[in-house]
């Protein structure tokens, strides 16, 4: 599909599906985000574990460079190794290297059917083990989402759907594909959940039931956002095997700085969203939030992860980029930036910070 950069993500998804095809990247913001923004941030989504992220669906781009030249990268060919892979360079470039004016997207066949299930745990590690075991059993679910205890409590407090607020973790799992394969996978996943002492496992029988099961995940952000005026959401990401350790580390950091941190996210790919409800006017608390996030980022990198899984670096996380890339990594990227945008007119101030390690959340 060839699209203009301002096309809304959900419109693209609907257009593909109306033609029996499928555009998998489904960021939480898809109702309002544009494909130009998605490409520039290399957005992921709930279906990322099985289907990959935006990068995996961009085949070619038209770009206006800083000097006014217009270039075309890639195209509709499945194989094409003529020169550098500029398409990949521009995916996730955050608008710092040029302006995308058109994109060719890859579509895949639409899965025949989908099933949804929800598992509750009293033990965080058990939930993490479930995730590993599912993958070890050669099943890649379309969705594998996770909510921690503070998030569950916040959701229950807000939507009152009968979640046990003392549960330590919730996993929302979806599989899609042919009916036989979906049934087989779901059955197997159910077995795995039970073998890991899930306290309850529900499989939806109808679309309405499936909707109901996804309620908790869908309302997670709303529920947390309503606790206090300011909501700060980050997306530290770790290898799948480190999820439990990371969540525990986040909770410890929260306790240390006396902050309420709710964590939810895409457990299948280790992409977590530690979220802090706070108040931007409370300077003293904001300083603590700042320090807590710095520690979270350091921990994530220590566990072999990254400072951002899908939201990008932008301005806020620019000071932390070096944590992940090292000096040489930054230098290489700056060389590319200088070559393509010598006058620094494309999104100046994004990605590269003037000085390192300061200010995630406290502005000016």
């Amino acid at each position: 599909m060839t699209v203009q950069p301002g096309a809304i993500t959900l419109d693209i998804i609907n257009m593909a599906e109306a033609n029996g095809l499928f555009y998998p990247p489904d960021p939480g913001s898809m109702k309002s985000s544009t494909i130009g923004g998605n490409i520039s941030e290399n957005s992921g989504g709930l279906r990322g574990l099985k289907y990959g992220v935006t990068r995996d669906y961009v085949m070619g781009l038209e770009i206006v460079l800083a000097n006014g030249d217009i270039i075309r990268t890639g195209g509709k060919l499945a194989k094409d190794v003529a020169g550098y892979d500029l398409t990949r360079l521009y995916v996730g470039a955050e608008g710092t290297l040029g302006i995308i004016t058109e994109a060719i997207l890859k579509l895949v066949p639409k899965p025949e059917t989908k099933k949804t299930m929800l598992a509750l745990y009293e033990d965080l590690e058990a939930a993490a083990r479930t995730v590993s075991k599912i993958i070890a059993n050669r099943i890649i679910p379309a969705t594998l989402e996770f909510l921690d205890q503070p998030t569950i409590a916040a959701v229950e407090d807000y939507v009152k759907i009968g979640l046990p607020t003392e549960a330590k973790a919730v996993l929302l799992i979806e599989q899609d594909g042919s009916p036989e394969q979906v049934d087989r996978d779901i059955l197997k996943i159910e077995e795995i959940c039970k073998s890991e002492q899930a306290v309850s496992v529900q499989v939806a029988k109808t679309t309405e039931e499936a909707e109901a099961l996804t309620t908790a995940r869908r309302w997670a952000l709303s529920a947390i956002a309503r606790i206090k005026p300011t909501t700060i959401l980050e997306d530290a990401t770790v290898p799948r095997s480190e999820i439990a350790r990371m969540v525990r580390a986040i909770n410890e950091i929260g306790a240390k700085y006396n902050l309420q941190i709710c964590t939810f996210g895409h457990s299948g790919d280790g992409n977590l969203h530690p979220t802090v409800p706070t108040d931007a006017r409370n300077r003293e608390e904001m300083e603590r939030v700042e320090k807590a996030f710095e520690e979270i980022f350091i921990k994530a990198v220590e566990f072999g992860g990254t400072i951002t899984g899908e939201h990008g670096v932008g301005v806020m996380k620019a000071p932390y980029l070096e944590l992940k890339l090292g000096e040489a990594g930054i230098a290489a990227m700056k060389a590319i930036k200088a070559g393509l945008d010598p006058n620094n007119i494309m999104n100046p101030g994004k990605m590269f910070a003037k000085d390192t390690r300061k200010r995630v959340v406290v502005g000016k």
Binding site: G6, I8, S29, K31, S32, S33, L221, S222, A225, R226, P229, T230, T231, D279, A280, R281
Partner: protein
């Protein structure tokens, strides 16, 4: 024009009066953008989106920008439809922010003399006085019946008005006679085994221009087994004031209404205009800083219910046979009924229960029709653009009957039908009138 000095006062007032918690509560996620009609119709301009308007209000509070013409324009173009509220994950009460902002601007700005005069007449002289409303409507009725209307249309004098206003003049319903408007009942018994005792909020416009709809409303309530009290002391709900930056006027009206309905010993207070109902359920917010009235306002608001909701709840559509000659029917949500009173399923269920009515849901039925109080007159261009989209969706259903549950929306849909030249094929009716028609 706003003078520099006025801008300064407005800025100070913003700092003092705007609810900062609410402003900060917006996390700028953009979930509200796809549901904002002005954002869509302006060609996706951030300054015409809910998120943009909140950011502008906050920037004024923070002293980052001055409340200049552009700022006012952004707020003026807002429909106040509140479609941005149910979709907001943070639960930002946008409507309250807008009302406060408009009030600050209006109270601190010197309007030009003609505008001032009109505002004075409308807000102080007319709407708060039901007897004067009757007189004004009586004049309109005289205009319609006396032949003056024909003369006016014949001389082309209507061409001097904005196009929408001129068309509006053609679609206004026939106003009842003075006598009909004066002799209103104060009590009506149930006409089926009595299940509820309710009070009826008649509304200023509804009890004059839309008198027939009020009569139908009461008839349906009686058939549904409700005993009805219609207290004399009630008044205009104050929505028009509230939405136009005349907050203190709307507070006076609120107090009068609360008093009028307080000691009636009723289960509910019924409204048949989404716009009024939504304003009534917000009385507790309006009077939140008034220690004497705060709790009384809460008691009042808890009783407010739309006519469609109560009919649905008492199974009116199952108990009374409803039948019409075959016709395709579609429903246009009243924004305030849907987004503020959260009533959307009941009217649809009632329509679907009518035998012979082939119900077709239109695309984006929940999107504003562009009526929005006096918006269609003061922001005519944007309003007509929004209406054009609405008519496209209406036509796509092939409906011959377009149903609404609010007088403003009803007039706007009539206007749309007239503008499309479809008056011989399509009609717009209030849901209550259609139900009455369907009662066997």
């Amino acid at each position: 024009m706003t003078t520099v000095q006025e801008q300064q006062t407005i800025q100070t007032e913003f700092k003092n009066r705007m609810n900062e918690d609410e402003l900060l509560n917006c996390m700028r996620c953009g979930f509200c953008l796809p549901s904002c009609p002005t954002y869509i119709e302006s060609g996706f301009k951030e300054s015409h989106s809910p998120r943009g308007r909140i950011a502008l209000m906050k920037a004024v509070v923070d002293g980052l920008i001055e409340p200049d013409e552009d700022f006012e324009k952004s707020l003026n173009q807002c429909l106040g439809c509140r479609a941005c509220e149910p979709v907001c994950p943070s639960g930002v009460n946008y409507g309250h922010l807008l009302e406060e902002a408009r009030d600050i601007i209006n109270q601190n700005k010197k309007h030009s003399l003609p505008v001032r005069t009109v505002r004075k007449v409308v807000f102080d002289g007319l709407f708060p006085h039901q007897n004067r409303m009757r007189t004004a409507m009586g004049l309109l009725g005289f205009y319609q019946r006396s032949g003056l209307q024909k003369v006016a249309r014949g001389t082309g004098i209507m061409k001097l008005f904005p196009e929408s206003l001129a068309t509006m003049e053609r679609v206004l319903p026939k106003v009842p006679s003075m006598k009909e408007m004066k002799n209103r009942p104060e009590f009506l018994p149930a006409e089926a085994p009595k299940t509820k005792r309710v009070a009826f909020f008649t509304g200023c416009l509804m009890d004059t221009m839309f008198l027939e709809t009020n009569n139908a409303t009461m008839k349906l309530l009686q058939l549904a087994g409700c005993e009805i009290v219609i207290p004399k002391g009630q008044n205009c709900c104050g929505a028009l004031h509230g939405h136009s930056g005349e907050k203190s006027g709307s507070k006076d009206l609120a107090r009068k209404n609360i008093q009028a309905f307080e000691d009636l010993d009723v289960d509910y207070i019924i409204t048949n205009a989404g716009g009024c109902g939504a304003f009534l359920v917000d009385y507790d917010h309006l009077l939140k800083d008034d220690p004497v009235w705060k709790d009384r306002a809460i008691d009042f608001k808890n009783k407010i219910k739309d006519i469609t909701q109560i009919l649905y709840e008492v199974d009116f559509h199952k108990k009374v046979k409803l039948e019409l000659p075959y016709q395709i029917v579609t429903y246009q949500d009243s924004c305030h009924l849907r987004n503020v009173m959260k009533t959307a399923a009941a009217p649809r269920a009632l329509l679907q229960a009518i035998e012979g009515a082939d119900y077709k849901e239109m695309k984006d039925a929940d999107r504003c029709c562009g009526s929005a109080g006096i918006y269609n007159i003061v922001e005519s261009e944007m309003s007509m653009q929004i209406l054009d989209y609405k008519m496209e969706q209406t036509k796509a259903t092939h409906a011959t009957t377009v149903v609404s549950a609010n007088p403003g929306c009803l007039l706007q849909m009539k206007l749309g039908i007239e503008r499309e030249g479809l008056s011989d094929k399509m009609r717009a009716v209030h849901i209550v009138d259609l139900l009455q028609e369907a009662v066997k």
